[in-house]
Symmetry: C2
Subunit: 465 residues, 2 copies
Amino acid sequence: MNMSDARGRGERLVVIGGDAAGMSAASQARRLRSPDELEIVAFERGHFTSYSACGIPYWVGGDVAEREQLIARTPEEHRARDIDVRLRTEVTGIDVDQQRVRARDVVSGDEYWTPYDKLVIATGARPIRPELPGMEAPGVHGVQTLDDGQALMDTLVRTRGRRAVVVGAGYIGVEMAEAMINRGYEVTVVNRGREPMATLDPDMGRLVHRAMEGLGITMVNDTEVTGLLTGDDGRVRAVDARDARFPADVVVLGIGVRPETSLARAAGLPLGQHGGLLTDRSMRVRGHENIWAGGDCVEVLDLVSGQERHIALGTHANKHGQVIGANVGGDYATFPGVVGTAVSKVCDLEIARTGLREKDARRVGLRFESVTVESTSRAGYYPNASPMTVKMLAERRTGRLLGVQIVGREGAGKRVDIAAVALTAGMTVEQMTALDLGYAPPFSPVWDPVLVAARKAAAKVRGAG
Amino acid sequence: MNMSDARGRGERLVVIGGDAAGMSAASQARRLRSPDELEIVAFERGHFTSYSACGIPYWVGGDVAEREQLIARTPEEHRARDIDVRLRTEVTGIDVDQQRVRARDVVSGDEYWTPYDKLVIATGARPIRPELPGMEAPGVHGVQTLDDGQALMDTLVRTRGRRAVVVGAGYIGVEMAEAMINRGYEVTVVNRGREPMATLDPDMGRLVHRAMEGLGITMVNDTEVTGLLTGDDGRVRAVDARDARFPADVVVLGIGVRPETSLARAAGLPLGQHGGLLTDRSMRVRGHENIWAGGDCVEVLDLVSGQERHIALGTHANKHGQVIGANVGGDYATFPGVVGTAVSKVCDLEIARTGLREKDARRVGLRFESVTVESTSRAGYYPNASPMTVKMLAERRTGRLLGVQIVGREGAGKRVDIAAVALTAGMTVEQMTALDLGYAPPFSPVWDPVLVAARKAAAKVRGAG
């Protein structure tokens, strides 16, 4: 491992964070620039690089047998391509003026400065941990990083009790609820909101609620956790709410995440309303010629609302990395923004959304019409046609598509892509009614569920005048 | 049944053809206009109305148990809504000047004129039957109408032999090959083209070829049928090609269809290059104020090539009917055109296409870059991730998406909708690389296969300069 600060003839790229965004950027830059032209040093606090954090629930749940399957590229593979990956090394400071970062070897405690010509910040996100008694107790786990996942797996192996409480009912919460059910736990999900999946409107979240109960998951909504009860051994024993106590042998935190930008903040880099780094379209940190940022630590432009959002999602992180690597390497690429697409599942229930929810639309001053339709995944007469609920929002007057939410079984989730592309293109729901979508009885009713929703939405927009 | 020609105070709408386009038009017009305002008479040559012709292969193959499941709305249901459906009644002439049609009761032979104020032509398509010896022999079946399907089912019940020959390897051919395999037949598909599924480029058709062989279907390409051999009883015995004879107890014709426009031609209505009626965007027959046409008997504008095509597909027919009914009923709707999306399957192989093939692009003078990528339906580490091949064509210089073809297993087919919407929006492959598509490990790799293809296509367009 080259710990020297000596500079060669070429430039040095320093990457902070060894997962999707950081290592995609490093890899793409390496494709474009030889080691002579560009030295690349990547600092990673944990033990792993380039892994699928989104895959952790499926590893915990047993769908994925081995942790290694989640790792797209190991540190050794990166090193073989002349990327100097330094594991267990935490960056403790960025000195923008002097163009250097301070790093600390987590094991030895050694600290040193490393100068950079170009810097990529890919520090990811950290799970929200409310400051409540017992939050740091053994048996309480986030699942943000692969190290987190490993810690949870270690706990599960050691824990005899079979009661799991999942705090939070967003994507991570419902996926972890499924994982724990699959491992044979009794699962209670404690949720602050009215319904699970707050990324959906509550009427659609209600469908998820019912399905989760059908799976034997105890779903407790409208409930704020007030603390965690620990036993004499210090381990977690229960989750406390104002009026209730939920016994727990293990607690999984799925409350959501915040951008991990304490380094960036300390360095005076520009942060947005959601605490994420602000970049331009080339993923360059605003106002800084030689600093890029991507992945879960940045805010992205929502093309539908026109405002910045924070979305922690591997697919965006990979795109950011690709764009950063291209620009760092002297090529050109941009990330124009997102429309807010997300898809998930709880057992065989598929859950998808894109664009704005009702409250998002209201918040940004958009008036809208909202419709909900019931349809099926295949022609009604075809075997295994399963019901599907599609909700669609369209702007009043213009009829512009604003958002789609879908809950159903097999074939429901990825249908949201139709709406994602239509949102990107700025289509109206009237235009969508004419979309030439794939039709055959095993794949769709003769009117695809998304078209049925578009027709109803278009009629409602016309009717509202 | 009102056979009278007497006219009430209201107008009379005459519909020729009682399937998807015709009866959708009738139903939509009825929603907008009361029987006092608009009398509706619909003539149908066969025994059925509003059925799913696309479902016939699945009924024959046993996936759909009952013929009645394919019928969306029976004649009685239409009549209950004051639509005067006249079954087994063939229209033999359209008198445009006098605004009347001549109809013949197929059973009684009675003929009579019926005047109209507004006319909808929805005469559908007819299967191509090469003029070869034996083509009309018992045991040779098309599967275009539900009456055709019933005739085939009657033959299958009576036939002891288990050898089926399917002539043609388009959608109908491959779907019928699957159906006959499912019924326990030895199936040979005789195909004139280089590979099955001529709606794909041959390199993609080759993947279908291999999969069909894997299912035990004998696939014979590059072979022109020269005639059908019949036995002493007049029934079909074999299919003859120039150098080969294929024994057959039943023959299914899946050669494709042509617009059924002999009536329209005789009436002097405008037909296009492919023999289909030419309409404007409101589905009105060009140059005729009070005549509309839709479904398999019309040509549609291909939005990618800018030229008319003939596509027989239930989803278009339903849209046409909806548009016609709205306009006939005094509302307003248009059908802007198609991008040529189609999806099909042979057992668990999913086959999809949209936009232009290589030869389509060449024919309309477009230069293009073509890429093919291999990816998977889910994250590689997720159970049941299955391989998927995506081919993408982009215009040289502009990078505009021209077409996509996908062959794979579960989850492959409907991914073509992403490209269908992108084509409709006129997106470039570079723009597509930033699409915010649904990602989670059970649904997609972190780069959706369509994005992988778009990235490769975009790079190739840039590289070609």
